[in-house]
């Protein structure tokens, strides 16, 4: 039917079906700012303003637009201009991956159209409609307040909050020109304007839609599969099953070559191992046709017994999940063990015997999902040379290219992987999930194919955080000195072992590396079950290990009647000390590690001040006479997290000068929204003493950018940053060399400053003159360099997390009132983006602590695979959050930087758990800390 409406001030007439969503119709009209994310009205990323009201366009039938006025962010500003709200979002660092940003901006507009004087609560309510997994909402809230001031016509001072949050040694304040400065994120304006920067934002002629048929059973064999009816459907172009796809064993994790074992996957198998597992893939003219085709595929199932419990699965007689003969590197298939880790030093038994106190506890952590707001999406096509182009939302473009090559039988040289902007990854996109099938569909049909995960697919067929059972045993002396620690865990790796070993290794490392002890032992069974597959998730095993160790250390301190901070500081590893257990826990060959920069004491001091820790000593803090059912408490945790993976991670950079003295910086590193492109540009700008906007960053395209392992393991600043620094230094040498010839002065007297090279006599040449001279005039040469970096170290970052909570002792309801995190990430390159990382990470970690969990029925079906049921935290329920950065340089990092991205996910859960114990006198040994668990624990105590 024909519909008529006004879109961004222009009258539109278009055709739409009753079943078309307004979201899809508006995207066909070129409004790519409206994002496809959940299609259930729950994330707000597809929001529009219809007659001034914020509405989710994904649940509106398109004909509902008839006669209405619709505004999207494309209609807010023109050309390079930014609307005051967009400007405020850019300045406050509210744009990380940017996927939610257009929705946030429209939510802000709806509010600010009503009032120019919004309260913080009103702003929270307005942004409460838009889910964001990156920011933790504080920077967007500040953007709303700042935009209100702009719209009131006020003169708005530069954005300062992060400067207050960075406690810098005054002598360091002016050391650098670009390092340590809150430069606006380079890509923020285009995302605030809703430009088509993501994978899905292109339309290619003849593009087909790809879709996955997934398993309805947790464990079943496919006796036969009949695709004839589906294939006969007009508009269906290809159906892939195990019958027509090469059987090639692999591991889907985007990890360094050779991928860690086990290799237990094939593209399409005749066995399924979890609800949501791959059965078939279809390419058709439309999404509806794909669904129709899938409904016509007939599968002859042999349903097998399934196992979901991580202890049951190891028992004799449990269903064997990987009975295929070609699985490689499975530790004990008969007992569903994908991998077993053992590491120890010292005489554990003797040390426990000699301990004055031994405490042993078992902790459980749950499976949670990364929930990037942009689900996995891939578009593949053949270029004019018939090379395969894979445009994908990935954290690991180079690993994607290497991993899919043997699966699709195309040599690496004939595959080009392009990573445009990514709408969040958080580890879920450190994986090859759709690229192989999408590529095969393109190869078979010769046509471009768009293949994406629905939100439900994203929950059950994507990746998640491993659930663990962790037994900790700690032996201590009366003095508070730790003698022995034992950590024994089972990690549930779901149906496939990908990332299982490495994540578990990190859980062990994080559980055992913060404290010294005379002896330690780590044992882990990484077990298969018939559940959806975990993988990489920001923190990568750290949150599980740190939750368990920080809870038990708190309890040990309590039993010793020692102050929990003093107890921890008595035992924490110190600068110069080696972390012994890391000698035994390594992906490949062990790389001994020791602590260089520390800063934990300062972090604790500042954190204590910010949360007013000493209140905890007073009884009246815990009890409020006006609310007799409420108890208050405070808890804390210390954290240590590495910077990259020692001896493995490698990053590279390439730079060249342009005629105007600007530089192209080409990186394999992948900016997930963290702002890494900007900070890498800051590093280059600092070396070359040119403005950051003279660095044009491009990342990543396997044809044009140098290799990088990708964005994971908190490695981008530390590893790729150093590659950029080295590269820029090489370029600088060439610049000075050229200037020396131009100025006729020896190199060693020249100074590079403010886009010029100065000689001692006051003469100078500009960067532009140097560029023109080198490219066009004398001894022509492209000033360019490439450099790569890997590190034998992964210097630990130290931090502390404090939490203040209220618990209703009649209902068990927990309210987290305040979080304070203080961290020493080494030199901070960009305070605004750094604070964004801290707040966003803590918000994710808070969800992990108090509400998020993937829940299943007895048959392995996920019960809550939609945002409304799974519930990630919204803007209107965030606690007060204070983030403090205490930068202390790390000798091995670029300009002293270490890492920052993952450590904020580590400490919230134990700090909250310890605060609940402080409030109620009851400890909860599993996550998330749900009201029901607290209530039950309190009932038991009674």
């Amino acid at each position: 039917m024909e519909i008529n409406f006004t879109l961004n001030g222009k009258k539109i007439t278009c055709e739409a079906e009753t079943t078309d969503t307004l979201l899809d119709v508006l995207r066909y009209q070129g409004c790519y700012s409206i994002k496809r994310s959940c299609y259930t009205g729950e994330c707000g990323n597809c929001a529009i303003l219809m007659d001034g009201k914020l509405l989710p366009s994904c649940v509106l039938p398109a004909p509902q637009a008839e006669g209405h006025h619709i505004l999207t962010v494309e209609g807010l500003s023109e050309g390079q201009d930014l609307h005051p709200i967009q400007k405020a979002f850019v300045e406050t660092g509210a744009v990380q991956c940017g996927f939610c940003t257009p929705g946030m901006i429209l939510a802000a507009k709806a509010l600010l159209d009503r009032t120019k004087y919004p309260s913080l609560d009103e702003a929270k309510d307005a942004l409460g409609a838009i889910l964001c997994r990156c920011t933790g909402y504080y920077q967007p809230l500040e953007a709303v307040m700042r935009a209100a001031a702009y719209l009131r016509g006020e003169t708005v001072p530069p954005y300062t909050r992060p400067d207050d949050a960075v406690i810098m040694d005054p002598k360091d304040a002016d050391r650098f020109r670009w390092i340590g400065k809150s430069v606006n994120k380079l890509d923020a304006p285009k995302m605030a304007k809703g430009k088509p920067v993501y994978v899905d934002d292109i339309e290619l002629p003849g593009m087909l839609h790809g879709m996955l048929m997934t398993s309805p059973y947790a464990h079943a064999r496919i006796r036969d599969i009949d695709t004839s009816e589906a294939e006969a459907l007009p508009g269906v172009h290809c159906v892939l099953t195990y019958k027509n796809v090469k059987r090639q064993i692999y591991a889907s994790g985007g990890q360094t070559y050779p991928n860690p074992k086990p290799w237990d996957q094939v593209c399409l198998d005749n066995k399924v191992r979890f609800v949501g597992d791959r059965v078939a893939a279809v390419a058709a003219d439309s999404v509806d046709l794909c669904m129709k085709a899938i409904s016509l595929i007939k599968v002859d199932w042999e349903v097998l017994p399934a196992v979901f419990d991580m202890e049951e699965t190891m028992k004799d007689g449990a269903p064997v999940i990987h009975d295929e003969p070609d699985a490689y590197g499975v530790a004990d298939a008969a007992h569903n063990k994908a991998f077993v880790i053992d590491a120890a030093y010292g005489n554990l038994q003797k040390d426990f015997e000699e301990s004055d106190l031994v405490v042993e506890r078992v902790y459980h952590t749950q499976q949670v999902q990364q929930t990037p707001l942009e689900p996995h999406i891939v578009i593949t096509y053949l270029d004019e040379d018939d090379r395969l182009v894979v445009r994908t939302s990935t954290q690991v473009p180079f690993h994607v290219r290497r991993i899919i090559s043997p699966l699709i039988d195309v040599p690496v040289k004939n595959i080009r992987v392009i990573k445009p902007r990514i709408g969040g990854g958080f580890g879920a996109k450190q994986e090859v999930l759709l690229e192989d099938l999408c590529s095969l569909l393109t190869i078979r049909t010769g046509r471009p194919v768009r293949f994406y995960f629905s939100r439900k697919d994203e929950f059950q067929s994507s990746r998640s955080r491993h659930s663990d059972q962790i037994r900790f045993k700690v032996g201590v002396m009366k003095s508070g000195r730790i003698k022995a620690i034992e950590m024994d865990m089972i990690e549930n790796t779901g149906a496939y072992g990908v990332h299982g070993f490495t994540v578990c290794n990190v859980t062990g490392t994080r559980g055992l590396s913060t404290y010294r002890a005379d002896s330690m032992r780590f044992h882990a069974d990484i077990v298969y079950t018939n559940l959806p597959v975990p993988g990489a998730f920001r923190g990568y095993g750290g949150p599980q290990g740190i939750y368990a160790v920080e809870c038990i250390m708190d309890e040990v301190a309590e039993k010793l009647k020692m102050d929990p901070i003093k107890f921890r500081m008595k035992n924490v590893v110190r600068p110069g000390e080696s972390i012994k257990i890391m000698d035994k826990l390594a992906e490949f060959d062990p790389v001994p590690q020791k602590v260089n920069s520390f800063g934990l004491e300062e972090c604790i001091e500042q954190g204590k001040k910010a949360i007013d820790w000493d209140r905890k000593r007073h009884k009246q803090f815990h009890i409020d006479p006006l609310r007799p059912n409420i108890r208050k408490g405070m808890g804390m945790a210390i954290m240590m997290h590495g910077s990259g993976i020692a001896g493995i991670d490698m990053g590279a950079a390439f730079m060249k000068i342009n005629d105007d003295g600007s530089f192209n910086l080409q990186m394999g590193a992948t900016d997930l929204g963290t702002g890494s492109d900007t900070i890498l540009a800051q590093i280059a700008a600092e070396v070359l003493q040119i403005p950051v906007n003279k660095i044009i960053v491009y990342s990543s395209d396997t044809d044009f950018t140098p290799f990088d392992v990708g964005a994971y393991a908190s490695s981008t600043t530390y590893i790729s940053g150093m590659a950029v620094k080295k590269c820029a230094e090489k370029v600088k040498e060439q610049v000075l060399d050229r200037a020396s010839a131009m100025l006729k002065q020896p190199i060693d007297v020249l100074i590079l400053k403010d886009e010029k090279v100065f000689a001692p006599d006051g003469s100078s040449v500009t960067m532009e003159e140097i560029a023109l001279n080198s490219l066009h005039r004398t001894n022509q040469q492209q000033i360019a360099a490439t450099a790569s970096h890997f590190s034998p170290e992964c210097p630990p970052v130290f931090a502390v997390e404090f939490a203040e909570v209220e618990v209703d002792i009649e209902t068990g309801q927990l309210n987290v009132e305040k979080l304070v995190m203080a961290v020493n990430p080494g030199t901070v390159i960009n305070p605004v983006t750094a604070i964004g990382q801290l707040e966003g990470g803590q918000a994710t970690a808070l969800g992990y602590a108090v509400c998020e969990e993937m829940c299943y029925d007895g048959k392995g079906n996920m019960l809550n695979p939609r945002f409304g049921d799974y519930h990630i935290l919204q803007a209107d329920e965030m606690p007060e959050m204070v983030s403090i950065i205490i930068p202390q340089g790390e000798a091995t990092g670029p300009f002293g930087a270490k890492a920052l991205a993952e450590i904020p996910t580590d400490g919230v859960a134990p700090a909250v758990a310890n605060a609940v114990a402080d409030a109620t006198g009851t400890r909860i040994y599993s996550l998330p800390i749900l009201p029901e668990k607290v209530w039950k624990a309190l009932q038991l105590k009674k």
Partner: protein
């Protein structure tokens, strides 16, 4: 589903709805959004031209047009000033503001199982659904009757025009709930109403969500308040009846035991809060 109607008169609307050969679904958006494929029917109908989006305040009742949005209810100063603000609070807690802009009181009635907070308020306030029958006549059906075991009973060809809530200046309400986080869906929620005079609470109404398979009035609890006297003993009598009313179902949000316990905690607390309002 290929047809989309946008009738501009009630007559045309009823004619389309009464067509025996077609199942046309009026677009009453619920707070828990439906994917477009989840609207069962072979035609959709946009009712926005019928002016069902007004709130009419009369001497003895308030009439909410069936298309009054939950956001309007949440934000209206008039509504916030009534019934201790519980209707506005219930609307606000139901969903995000974008979905509140879209979802309507009609949508709540047609999808009452979850979230159910607005339904609880309608139940305790003795609200009536004003239905337009296919012959154009209006009838009023108490919400509790309209929702049978939690499911709406709307005969083919009929339309929800309005919801009527009687006004009584003595009516006081309490809303309470348990949830994992502030904006998370309720595990158990409840609304209590009483028309207060000194130590009495007339027309005591208790409605609970989360301790039964659908939002439910607890009649036995209500009638246990002897002589309407809202004393501590009276409240204890009410609480003794709670276990006779609850029949919770465990789900991923919480188990049955916890739900039962929470129904008790919330009812007791809310009755005490109501008593406080009565006796000061």
């Amino acid at each position: 589903m290929t047809v989309f109607y946008r009738p501009d008169t009630i007559k045309k609307t009823l004619k389309i709805l009464g067509n025996p050969d077609q199942n046309c679904v009026p677009l009453y958006y619920p707070p828990r959004a439906k994917h477009i494929s989840q609207w069962d029917g072979d035609a959709l109908m946009d009712l926005s031209a019928l002016n069902f989006d007004a709130i009419k305040i009369r001497k003895t009742e308030i009439l909410f047009g069936s298309l009054v949005s939950l956001e309007t209810i949440a934000k209206s100063d008039d509504i916030r000033s009534l019934w201790n603000g519980v209707l506005s609070e219930a609307a606000k807690i139901s969903t995000t503001n974008a979905m509140r802009n879209l979802s309507t009181i009609g949508g709540v009635l047609m999808n009452p199982l979850f979230p159910a907070e607005v339904v609880l308020v309608l139940l305790v306030l003795d609200a009536k659904v004003v239905l337009l029958q296919n012959n154009g006549k209006e009838i009023r059906v108490p919400v509790e009757e309209f929702l049978q075991d939690g499911y709406p009973v709307l005969q083919k060809g009929c339309l929800i025009k309005e919801v009527s809530i009687p006004l009584n200046s003595r009516t006081r309400c309490v809303f309470d709930r348990v949830a994992c986080t502030k904006s998370n869906a309720s595990i158990v929620s409840l609304v209590i109403r009483g028309d207060l005079t000194q130590k009495k609470a007339y027309h005591l109404r208790v409605a609970v969500f989360g301790a039964n398979s659908f939002p439910k009035r607890y009649h036995q609890v209500e009638s246990a308040l002897e002589n309407d006297l809202i004393t501590v003993q009276g409240i204890q009598q009410c609480c003794k009846k709670i276990s006779e009313e609850t029949a919770p179902v465990s789900d991923f949000r919480a188990g049955a035991e916890y739900r039962t316990a929470m129904a008790e905690v919330l009812i007791r607390r809310s009755l005490l809060a109501l008593r406080k309002m009565a006796v000061g």
